[in-house]
Each structure stands twice: as structure tokens, then as C-alpha cells.
């Protein structure tokens, strides 16, 4: 589960109703400053948000990757060149030097919200 750092409500962006998320199918969220976030609901009910930009291709596509696990670690695989990223830490499992930002997520009145990284 992502570490939920409490922040000023002003920095939270509402994504969608929790019920609108389908387990293991990511969606992209646009933050007011233009940052793109990939938001995932896992099969165990946990929510994760990572930067949407795939560092290997530069394309904003991580939300369209396949969600699963590797050695028990929940991951999303980039749809471009297929590297896997730890949904909790954003670290790339195929290249530990590379990672994507982790965004805080919370559910408020049934609405999923994403914060700045």
C-alpha cells in the first residue's frame, strides 16, 4: 500500500469514483500542473498511483500497461519495451537505477483522489 502522507487538500485532484475503476486496468489522471499520473486498483483492493511517463520511451503510457505481480511484488509492465515497475515504490525491477515518481492516493466520499508526488 502506498504511504499515505497527509497533505493540504488543495493539492489533491479528484480522479473518478472508486467504483468506476476496474481491478488491474489502469487509467490516466491529469493533474492541474499538467503532470500525468497512472492510477491502478489492484485485485486486493489497494490503490496505487505512479507517474504516467515511461522513462524508457518518454511516452505517457504506463497506465496502459498490464498489472500483475513478480515474485510477489505488485507491478505494472510498460506497454512499450515491457520493463516492470513496482507499484508501491515506482522502482523499475529490470533496472534498479530507474524509477518513476509515486503519487499519494486516497478515497474521499467514494471518490479517488491523487496528490502531487
Amino acid at each position: 500500500m502506498t504511504s499515505l502522507v497527509e497533505r493540504d487538500t488543495a493539492t489533491w485532484t479528484s480522479a473518478c469514483e472508486r467504483g468506476a475503476l476496474q481491478p488491474e486496468r489502469g487509467v490516466a489522471v491529469l493533474l492541474p500542473d499538467g503532470t500525468q499520473v497512472a492510477l491502478f486498483l489492484c485485485a486486493d483492493g489497494s490503490l496505487h498511483a505512479l507517474g504516467n511517463v515511461d522513462p524508457f520511451s518518454g511516452a505517457a503510457v504506463l497506465s496502459r500497461g498490464i498489472v500483475g505481480d513478480r515474485d510477489g511484488v505488485p507491478v505494472v509492465a510498460s506497454p512499450v519495451y515491457k520493463q516492470s515497475f513496482d507499484l508501491r515504490s515506482g522502482v523499475c525491477l529490470d533496472d534498479q537505477e530507474t524509477s518513476v515518481p509515486v503519487h499519494p492516493v486516497r478515497v474521499l466520499d467514494g471518490v479517488v483522489q491523487v496528490g502531487a508526488a
Partner: protein, 836 residues
């Protein structure tokens, strides 16, 4: 000082000598002059019959046979040697050239023996030895235009005769085989094996006449007639003599060298003739009283001479005259003392007329040592049995051929020094060393580092087993979530009716899956028509391409490829494509697959684009899926003056039939209207080439990373048979191939290869054809365009949005620039290619 070696004859063995010598003679003590009679450099005569598949002489070429980069080798072709002056050490060629030598090697091979039957030299009568011979046979067959199917006669029912008959069959000719002996392949097989062989071969459109010979051949107008000594008269288009070979020892005779009683240039164990400056190797040599008609002993002789020329003491090690023949799916193998000629030897025979298999082993009088054997119908134990010849049999000899125990002899039973590859004399230990310390991890690696498997190919299954027993073979497990292979999972899903990934992984796997197993399961579910690919949970299994039914590009946009069956398109439809591309600013390109690709669409534009395309009558081209891509076509008989069938019509029919079929990897096809092959059908997974009488179906070709030509599966079939065969081919592939295994690799990995495939889908040897036919029937019946399905379903449509919280806002990371008048992506940083 450099001395001159003259090699007469550039056949397989002559070439091997040059190669072996040049390999070892690093000091350059010998300059080599090769004088060849044929107009082309040495080629793979053993594989000569495969020439009829593509008529491409280049595919028979032996590597390095032109010595392009070697200043010390001079190759002169098309000018036979006609005289040897041993006293002055000079040879003379037909053109009058004189070539002095310090050492002379005769590698002149053999010539086909033609019995002096009256009429044997009439036009239309041929022999079967060289590429030119096959070209001449083809010319005769082409020129023949009698009523009905063409007929041919092959004189001689030995190994070569059967090959020739098969080649005729490949040219659309029905062959008669006439054998004077009491059975086919009299040298290799015994009576029981011969009887079964005859039956199996006759099932395949060959007519066999044993115990008789041709009394005369006559010509009447443009027909040939053969009268058999049994009285039968045959009406024919072509005659091929294959009544044995004779060593070409004429040069040796004329120059006074010793020749054997039944021909052949007499040599000692060092391959030297009665003149110390002259050697003879290959089929023209007579060593220890024997003339060998196989390539492996010739290669051994070449190695011996190369060694001797450099001062070595090598001697001919003796020869293995085992043979294995694979024709028309009929296996025949004979090895060692097949006729039980050794004193007191015992025979163990298993004749199963029902299964169509015959196996005989010959063992020593104490039943301890294997001496030889004959296998007909099923030669799968040949690679294991052959190396055991001359060695102690582990246990009861009958167990070796008894089908009950499955694999009778384990590879472990083979001693380390047993020869696994007899073509190249490679021992078991040489192979296991190459695997364990040489780093070879697949058959291809073993082939290049040990040469094993590059001759007749019959030891390849053993190489695979040795890899496995050294622990190299990759686990069949799909990924960490499933211990099963794709084929196993397919069967599980098919038989249990499970229709979600979650249920499957919970019951048969572990964890939550990954980007390897999820798309595989998605593809299996789609092959079994278990719902739309974006239905329910299935959408989460799909790779991004399948999830958005378009191909992902490097900047996160997608490409759109509407189906254009057979490449045929009306001007109206072309205009619609043009309009859509213009209105959405899509980069437009004609693909290599005869259709049009529109690049640069964003996720939210895809439904709008497709709505316009679907309204205009287009449907998904599945360029994004592991599915049927295109059936490429040439223009065919409608327009082309050479076309013999309507290739466009067939291509469209096939593309519409198999569209949407999800498979382990992509599937491509092509249809050419004649043998000129403008559609490149032989580079496709299944390629069809029109013939005068129907269609030839080739399978297992591809371009891509490892190009491979497709091989002929069935010939001259009508459209109905063709389609039925393709149906089964595809369904069998869909069910049994590994993940991302193209049909070429699938067939290569298949035990028994193309012959096995043919047995399964043509002869129904596994009894599954009805099932395969039914499965394809369901696919054809239930096909529906995926894009139309999306456009009709608001829930699916909603997923084509850029941002959940801002649908319709374009992805700010995407920007374009212009190049040659069209929009192309602005590169995003430095992309890294293919990390894994």
C-alpha cells in the same frame, strides 16, 4: 615451396577435401586447382530432391564452395578432365587446357547406370543425379500435355528410385516404380519390411511393380510407352532411370591405374591409388573392396587425404552405411547388418500390420550384441539404435523395439564414444562437451560448433534429447505464475470451460499473473471464442495493442490498419481512407502487407476514426493482434497473362475465413497465381501457389528475424481440400504451439517435423481432424468485427479516453512536426530499445 594439388571433380567430396585442406594448411604449402565438369560449384547432392520444391539452385549451395576469398584455390568449372599423363604429371581438359600437378586427387563420383533397354535414349528418358538432370525432367513434364494427370515411370525401386518417384509426384506426375528385385529398397530392407513399405507407398499414389523390369521404351507421337517384362504396357510422359550407380573410374582405367573388379579406383586405407602421387576419394574410390554410395564415407576419405597431404598418418576409419529415408511421411531406416549375414546371428521381428510398422533387430548369437536392424513405418528409434550397433544390448533386445515401453533405450544407455551424428562422425561426448563447456544451448548452436545435424538431419532429435539430459532445455513453464506450457493451458481452458483469467490462475497457477501469461490466456480465450476481447476482465489481460485495438507507437499514439482482403480495394474505399487520414492528420503509408497504415491517432480519436471506417464497410485488420494479418495476393489469372488460377479470389476467401483468428503468434499468408510467385507465398506461414490442376500448399515460412521458406505440404489439391487442410493446419497450430512461436519454429520443434504434421492433418493419424474441423467451423460462424463490437457498446467506448478526470483533453506529451508533407512524432528524449 608451394606445391600444386589438382582435384578432379567438384562434388560434395571434392569440396570437402578443399575445405579440410585449406582449414589445416595454414602455412600455405599447397595451391589447389579444382577442375569440375558441372557448370556450377559443388552443391548438396544429398538434398537434390528438395530442388523440386522451389527450383532454386541457390538453396542447395554448399557454404564456401566458391572460395571467393581464398587466393590459394582456383576453381575452373564446366571443363571436364579428359586425360591424365602420370609420367609428366599433367592433366588435360576437354577444352585442351593442360594443368601440371604435384599431387592429383580424383573425386569424380559416380554416374547413373542406364540398363541397355531398347529406347532408353529416347527424348523424355532421363537420369537423376544432377541439378541439370532435374531441370531436364521438369522441361519434359512441362512440355507434356496429354489428357488427365501426367504419368511417369521410375526404373529402380531403391533409395534413389523412391526419391525420384517422390520428386515426380512433387511435379504433379503420378509415378510408377518398377523394381527388378522382389521388394522395394532390396539393399536396405528385408522381405517383411519391403512388403509393408510397398503398402505404405502405394497409399500415397505410387504404383509399385516388383519382380519385373522394363523390356522396352517406345515413342508414339508425343507419348512414351514402356513395356514391362510382365507384359504390362504403360502410357507415360516421362521416364527416369534409377537403376544404380557406377563409379566414374574411366580416367583411372585409361591412365593405367588399378581398378576394382566391379569398378572403382582401387585405393589403400590412406586413399592412395597404385600411383603414389594420385589419390581417389568419394564414390569413385574402391577401398577394401567396397565402393561407398553415401556421402559420409566420402567425407571421411577427404579428411584422410587432407591429413596425408600435410604429412599426417590418418587412415580410413571404416564406414557406417546406415540409411534413413523419409518420403511422403513414410519412415524407413536400415542400419548395420540389416540382412543378418553374420554367422549365427539372430533376428527379433515385430511386424504390426495394423499400425503399419515393421521393426527388425539383428543380434549376435548370444543375443548380447546389436548387429543391425530394419525399421519401416516408424523410425523414431533409429537415432538411438544406430549408435548401439556393435555394442552390448541393455537387457532384452525385444524391449528395444517394443512399443509398450515408449522410449525403449534411454540416451543414458549410449556410451560416451558412440557416434550420434554419423554424417559428420560426431560422438556423444563431443556433443555433451559442447553443451556443458562449449556453451551451446540449442540445436542451432550445436550445429555450428560440432557440425552434428547438418548432414541428413536424422540425429537432430538426439541433439535435442542430449540438450535436455544436460539440463539445458528451457522449462516449458510459461512464467512464474503457471507451470504449464501454452499448449497445456489451451487444453485446460478448452476442457474445463474456464472463461476468466482469475479462475484459471486460482485453480491452476499462482499469484496475479503478468505481462507474459495474461496476453497468452487472453489469446486462448479469444481462440475459443469466449467473448469479445474487451469483455469484462479480458480487457485487463490484453497488451496495450489489443486493449485499444490499434498498434502503439513510440510516442504513445496508435496506428490504424483497416483490413483490405487480398489487397483488393475499390476507389471509393480508397477515397474514404484518404479522407479519414486527411481529417485526423494521420501519417499515411502503404505497408509491406498490401494495405494502408494510418499513424498518429490518439486514444480518444480511435473510436471516431473507426466509426467512419466501419460505416464505409471496413473492419479491423488485426495489425495489433497475434492473429491473421494479411493474405497477400498477386493479380492472378483475371489479368495476368501467366496466371493459371484466380489468386485474388482465393486470397480474399482465405482472408475472410480466417480473419480474427487469435493465434500463438501472428499469421501471414499469400496466394500466387502461378509458379512465378509474385505474392511471395513461400515466405508466409501458409502460402498457396496455383498449379494447372489446383493449388500447392506450403507451410511454415516466414520473413522476419529468422527467414525460412515454407515447405510443400500438399500439392495439386482442389479448393475444398486446400481449405480443409489449412483449417486443420491453423487449428492444430493454435492448439499446440508455444507462446510467440511462429509456424516455422513450431514445425521445426515438432517431433517428426513436416511429415508428422502431414500425418496429423492429412492422414488424421491422431484422429483429431473432425475436432479441428469443427473448431474452425465455430470460428468462421461466430466471427464478428471487434471494432464494430466496441462502437456498439458504450461501456467499452468509454475506455477510449485520454484521462479519467479530463476525457477529451489531449495527452500533452504528444507533439508533431512535419516531414515530407506529413505529420510525424517529435521524439521524446532518447528512447531505449528492447530491454528484455
Amino acid at each position: 615451396m608451394t606445391r600444386t594439388l589438382v582435384v578432379v571433380g567438384h562434388g560434395m567430396v571434392g569440396h570437402r577435401l578443399v575445405e579440410a585442406l585449406r582449414d589445416r594448411d595454414s602455412a600455405g604449402t599447397w595451391r589447389v586447382v579444382v577442375l569440375g565438369e558441372e557448370s556450377r560449384p559443388a552443391y548438396d547432392r544429398v538434398a537434390l530432391s528438395s530442388y523440386v520444391e522451389d527450383w532454386d539452385a541457390a538453396s542447395l549451395a554448399l557454404p564456401g564452395s566458391e572460395y571467393d576469398d581464398d587466393d590459394l584455390v582456383e576453381l575452373r568449372l564446366g571443363d571436364p578432365v579428359v586425360g591424365v599423363d602420370r609420367e609428366h604429371r599433367v592433366v588435360t581438359t576437354a577444352s585442351g587446357a593442360r594443368q601440371p600437378y604435384d599431387a592429383l586427387v580424383l573425386a569424380t563420383g559416380s554416374y547413373p547406370f542406364v540398363p541397355p533397354v531398347p529406347g532408353h535414349d529416347l527424348p523424355g528418358c532421363h537420369v537423376y543425379r544432377t541439378i541439370d538432370d532435374l531441370d531436364a525432367i521438369r522441361a519434359t513434364v512441362r512440355a507434356a500435355h496429354g489428357p488427365g494427370r501426367r504419368a511417369g515411370l521410375v526404373l529402380g525401386g531403391g533409395l534413389l528410385g523412391l526419391e525420384a518417384a517422390n520428386a515426380l509426384r512433387g511435379m504433379g506426375v503420378s509415378p510408377h516404380v518398377v523394381e527388378l528385385g522382389p521388394r522395394l529398397m532390396p539393399i536396405q530392407v528385408d522381405e517383411g519390411g519391403g512388403a509393408l513399405l510397398k503398402r505404405l507407398v502405394e497409399d500415397l499414389d505410387l504404383t509399385v511393380h516388383t519382380g519385373t523390369s522394363a523390356a522396352a521404351v517406345k515413342r508414339d507421337g508425343d507419348r512414351l510407352f514402356a513395356v514391362l517384362s510382365s507384359g504390362l504396357e504403360l502410357d507415360l510422359d516421362v521416364v527416369v532411370f534409377s537403376a544404380g550407380i557406377r563409379p566414374r573410374d574411366q580416367l583411372a582405367r585409361e591412365s593405367g591405374l588399378e581398378v576394382g573388379q566391379r569398378g572403382g579406383i582401387v585405393v589403400d586405407a590412406s586413399c592412395r591409388t597404385s600411383d603414389e602421387h594420385v589419390w581417389a576419394i568419394g564414390e569413385c574410390a574402391c577401398l577394401g573392396g567396397s565402393v561407398y554410395g553415401l556421402v559420409a564415407p566420402g567425407y571421411s576419405m577427404a579428411e584422410v587425404v587432407a591429413d596425408r597431404l600435410l604429412g599426417g598418418r590418418a587412415e580410413f576409419p571404416g564406414a557406417d552405411t546406415s540409411t534413413k529415408l523419409k518420403l511422403l511421411g513414410v519412415d524407413v531406416a536400415s542400419f548395420g547388418d540389416a540382412h543378418a549375414t553374420a554367422e549365427g546371428s539372430l533376428e527379433v521381428v515385430l511386424n504390426n500390420a495394423v499400425a503399419g510398422t515393421y521393426a527388425k533387430l539383428v543380434v549376435s548369437d548370444d543375443a548380447k550384441t546389436l548387429l543391425g536392424g530394419v525399421l519401416v513405418g516408424d523410425a523414431s528409434s533409429y537415432p538411438l539404435l544406430r549408435p548401439l550397433v556393435g555394442r552390448e544390448v541393455p537387457g532384452d533386445p525385444a524391449a528395444l523395439i517394443s512399443p509398450a515401453g515408449g522410449e525403449p533405450v534411454g540416451l543414458d544407455a549410449l556410451p560416451a564414444d558412440a557416434q550420434v551424428c554419423s554424417c559428420h562422425a560426431v560422438t556423444k561426448v563431443a556433443i555433451t562437451d559442447a553443451i556443458t563447456s562449449g556453451g551451446c544451448s540449442d540445436v542451432a548452436g550445436l550445429k555450428s560448433c560440432t557440425r552434428a545435424g547438418t548432414g541428413c538431419g536424422s540425429c537432430v532429435p538426439m541433439l535435442k534429447q542430449l540438450l535436455a539430459s544436460c539440463g539445458v532445455e528451457q522449462s516449458r513453464a510459461l512464467c512464474e505464475h503457471f507451470d504449464h506450457s501454452r499448449a497445456d493451458l489451451f487444453e485446460i481452458v478448452r476442457s474445463t470451460g474456464i472463461d476468466t483469467f482469475s479462475a484459471l490462475v486460482a485453480k491452476h497457477g499462482r499469484g496475479r499473473g503478468c505481462d507474459v501469461c495474461k496476453p497468452v490466456v487472453a489469446s486462448i480465450l479469444a481462440s475459443l471464442d469466449r467473448g469479445h476481447v474487451l469483455e469484462g476482465e479480458q480487457v485487463t489481460l490484453q497488451d496495450t495493442n489489443d486493449r485499444f485495438l490499434a498498434n502503439l507507437q513510440r510516442n504513445g499514439t496508435y496506428s490504424v490498419v483497416p483490413r483490405i482482403p487480398g489487397g483488393e480495394i475499390t476507389p471509393e474505399k480508397l477515397i474514404v481512407i484518404g479522407e479519414v487520414a486527411r481529417d485526423y492528420g494521420l501519417y499515411t503509408k502503404i505497408t509491406g502487407g498490401q494495405r494502408i497504415d494510418l499513424f498518429g491517432a490518439t486514444v480518444d480519436q480511435l473510436p471516431d476514426i473507426w466509426r467512419r471506417l466501419v460505416d464505409a464497410g471496413f473492419e479491423s485488420g488485426h495489425a495489433y493482434g497475434k492473429a491473421l494479418r494479411t493474405v497477400k495476393s498477386c493479380v492472378g489469372s483475371t489479368w495476368c497473362r501467366y496466371g493459371v488460377q484466380d489468386s485474388v479470389g482465393l486470397a480474399i476467401e482465405l482472408e475472410l475465413r480466417y480473419r480474427g483468428l487469435r493465434s500463438p503468434h501472428k499469421l501471414k499468408s499469400g496466394v500466387s497465381g502461378c509458379a512465378r510467385e509474385c505474392a511471395e507465398a513461400r515466405s508466409k506461414d501458409f502460402g498457396i501457389i496455383a498449379t494447372e490442376n489446383g493449388w500447392n500448399l506450403h507451410v511454415g515460412g516466414n520473413g522476419g528475424f529468422t527467414p525460412r521458406h515454407a515447405e510443400l505440404l500438399v500439392s495439386d489439391v482442389d479448393t475444398e481440400t486446400l481449405i480443409r487442410t489449412i483449417d486443420r493446419f491453423l487449428m492444430f497450430y493454435v492448439r499446440t504451439a508455444d507462446r510467440l512461436q511462429r509456424t516455422a519454429a513450431w514445425i521445426e520443434a515438432m517431433e517428426g517435423g513436416l511429415d508428422h504434421l502431414r500425418a496429423v492433418i492429412v492422414d488424421d493419424s491422431l484422429g483429431i481432424c473432425a475436432d479441428l474441423d469443427a473448431a474452425m467451423g465455430v470460428h468462421v460462424r461466430d466471427y464478428a468485427d471487434e471494432w464494430r463490437g466496441v462502437l456498439q457498446d458504450p461501456e467499452k467506448l468509454a475506455r477510449f479516453s485520454s484521462f479519467v478526470n479530463a476525457p477529451g483533453t489531449p495527452d500533452p506529451a504528444i507533439s508533431f512536426r512535419e516531414e515530407r508533407g506529413q505529420r510525424v512524432p517529435v521524439l521524446l528524449g532518447t528512447p531505449e530499445v528492447a530491454a528484455r
